[in-house]
Amino acid sequence: MMKDSELRTIERKVYMSFFEDGVWDIFLGLFILGWGLSILTKAAYLPGVSFIGIYFVMWGIKKWLTYPRIGYVRFSSTSRRIITIRFIILGTAVLLLGLLAAILWGIGTRPQWLADYFPLIFNGMLAAVVCFVAYWARVNRFYLYAALIFLGAVLHQWSGIEWEFGFIGSGGIILLSGLGFLIRFLRKYPRVAQEGKDGDQ
């Protein structure tokens, strides 16, 4: 007989199975990488374009790699509502962050402290958003990613490494980590050709 806590464990197991494929890590890695490349190439549109591109990559991985391996589950309407609200909050936070960066970077006369510490402030805010993801998704490795993102700015501030390379470096590490999770997932769950055809009958 399961207690309520065990039912919650099942719910959590179901939920966590959708983080096993590393897709969210790949999403974050590519997004941070896109941000770094945008600063490097001075192409302001890049984060926005990469965001759309990454969405389709994620959709493709989920549709063609994840669901045929672990199956499809539809969460309860309450869970779906909570997830949607969190996505709206997350999207708004990223949008506001981009807007804030554009405004602060675009104004002619910035206070000296802002000019000096802008990368640290910006990466700090981005890391806070990633920490929020780690908290609501309860995926602890995202705290590490947040620390990596912040570290990029710290290194820029005190060791002279270009700001964009902090993004490219942390984005690259996060992307590699995500790909590692994806490879592990693909090995752990072989594709099932057809229902009932896994050789056990």
Partner: protein
């Protein structure tokens, strides 16, 4: 509520415990379906660790009892089966849990 299913197994052979849900594999299936809205067979096989054959047999019994609803469609050319708990199944699962807790609470302390 029905008192038997197509397999001839009594759902309530004791006064309060639903024997159909009492079977561990069926309880596990119902627990997974209870926390979601619906799940396909592949998902249930992966999560419960049952074989396809076992899962089909147990789901068949739960469906016959009116606890589970099955929808079959195709993903491309491949058959795709989705299971969900019916309202009756959800209520039966909650009742089973309540009854089992009551039974366990009434046990005398071990010596």
């Amino acid at each position: 509520m029905a008192t038997s299913n197509s397999g001839g197994e009594d759902k309530r052979s004791t006064p309060s415990i639903d024997r159909l849900i009492h079977e561990p594999a069926r309880y596990t299936i119902m627990a997974y379906l209870y926390v979601v809205e619906s799940a396909d067979f592949l998902f249930l096989v992966k999560q419960t660790g049952l074989t396809w054959g076992n899962l089909s047999a147990h789901i068949g019994k739960l469906e016959a009892a009116g606890y589970v609803e099955i929808k079959k469609d195709f993903l491309g050319k491949k058959p795709h089966t989705v299971a969900s708990l019916t309202q009756e199944g959800r209520l039966a699962f909650e009742a089973y849990r309540r009854e089992m807790m009551q039974v366990l609470d009434e046990l005398p302390p071990s010596r």
